[in-house]
Symmetry: C2
Subunit: 291 residues, 2 copies
Amino acid sequence: MSAVCRSVRAVTPRIVKTVDEMLGLSARYSLERGITGFVPTMGSLHEGHLSLVRAAGELCDRVVVSIFVNPGQFAPGEDLDAYPRDFDRDLELLTELGVNYVFAPSPEQMYQWGYQTWIEVEGLSQLLCGKSRPTHFRGVCTVVAKLLNIVAPSLMFMGEKDFQQIVVLRRLIEDLNFRTRIIRCPIVREEDGLAMSSRNQRLDPEERARALCLRQALQMAQTAFENGMANPARLRNIMSEHVRNCGGRVDYFEFVDPASLQGVEHLEPGTRALGAVFVGKIRLIDNLEIQ
Amino acid sequence: MSAVCRSVRAVTPRIVKTVDEMLGLSARYSLERGITGFVPTMGSLHEGHLSLVRAAGELCDRVVVSIFVNPGQFAPGEDLDAYPRDFDRDLELLTELGVNYVFAPSPEQMYQWGYQTWIEVEGLSQLLCGKSRPTHFRGVCTVVAKLLNIVAPSLMFMGEKDFQQIVVLRRLIEDLNFRTRIIRCPIVREEDGLAMSSRNQRLDPEERARALCLRQALQMAQTAFENGMANPARLRNIMSEHVRNCGGRVDYFEFVDPASLQGVEHLEPGTRALGAVFVGKIRLIDNLEIQ
């Protein structure tokens, strides 16, 4: 292959399957100049993930993407086994974007025999999604702390769809004195407005149409606020009714302070509206900033 | 002051009072060559601590000692307020030993407003001392994880008096993929055999004499084992009786596997004998390896 030919082909990322190898690589690049950007994912990548990888590529000198469907953040009975996986396609997409390292450990690599350490951000983890998924953020916090130690990034890129996750992890990083900063990137949506999510591919065509009700309900809150309605309970009723009319089931709608995640008594610009609904068996989340 | 004069005087360690300053210093020295040794303490230093500092000085290129009486590892009603403190004397001792950095943050520095993150090593923390101090190791694990992030040491030096603490923290480090290794150093004892502890200075002369019962009981187990007795329950009876006869109160005596801390059915060489007793209001711990 000529050098010219090679230069137009993207270089395949280095695929790292063991914790020890990734620890060794990050020890080495931490001694070199430059900023390491990190995008933690559970694979099954969509435009939302890719927007994070692109943002990392613009700001950083090297980019690490992890692909790990973390059993620690799924409760028994949740969709761990059904969660979509497609490593070959993920790798193709990451190769196109020029990612340097893909860290894809097995569950046994991350949770070795005798594993027993868990991290909990106590208050923030119990709100919103934490009410219906009480061990979810414990699993997220623990795996992210592990990944921060293993990858040693300067910047970690996360999407605003998982708004609560970002608030919880910022708290984790500040409380435990990790050196990584979280860069928050906007939600990427399908053309019709549905927030991109790996779980969307598990919706059948009829559910896919109904799934729009979540985004619509959040937009109804924004419109109602513009028309002078600022009462969370009344807004929640309108939104819930819309979701029910679309054949969805509301897990929650909340209006919260974006830093503390505490519910507000009256909406104001900057209030975050968050929702979770079930469409069929699939649980979807979305949020927006009230303006 | 002449250079000669200066060379015979120990250089005062750099005293670091804020987390941000220590983070900045460790970021800098992590980019330099050399091994960073770390000795976490709650101050009120005695020969036990100093032996750890000396070991760090021999193996490492720079030594950081932290002095922080961690509120997180004291339960309400325990001796947080009564715990001895003498920063000036500690600093004198550390200056003599040529320590490079003394990290002495305030509780407000370590647990800022809104703090809510806790780390738990679930199984190991509930055994032995964890039975009578159920939140103790949660506090230890959390503060040590913070200190590892802030100080970024290669090696952390800990004394075998806190045997369970070392086992718990090794698990923490392995589970969360920290890069630090724990170096375990032998117990340092007073001339009469009492394990050194900052709490010893809170014993009055009569209690100080009775405090020997803990060490004596552990030695009785060793002697009984040499004479063919390997049954933990029978040994525990003998030991407890000795402590009671000395006017002490037994918290626990256990014979455990040194890695898992699980109780053994029969003693064998390598079994760890651990004990905790109250002498007056003071709780003392000690342990030995059965040989």
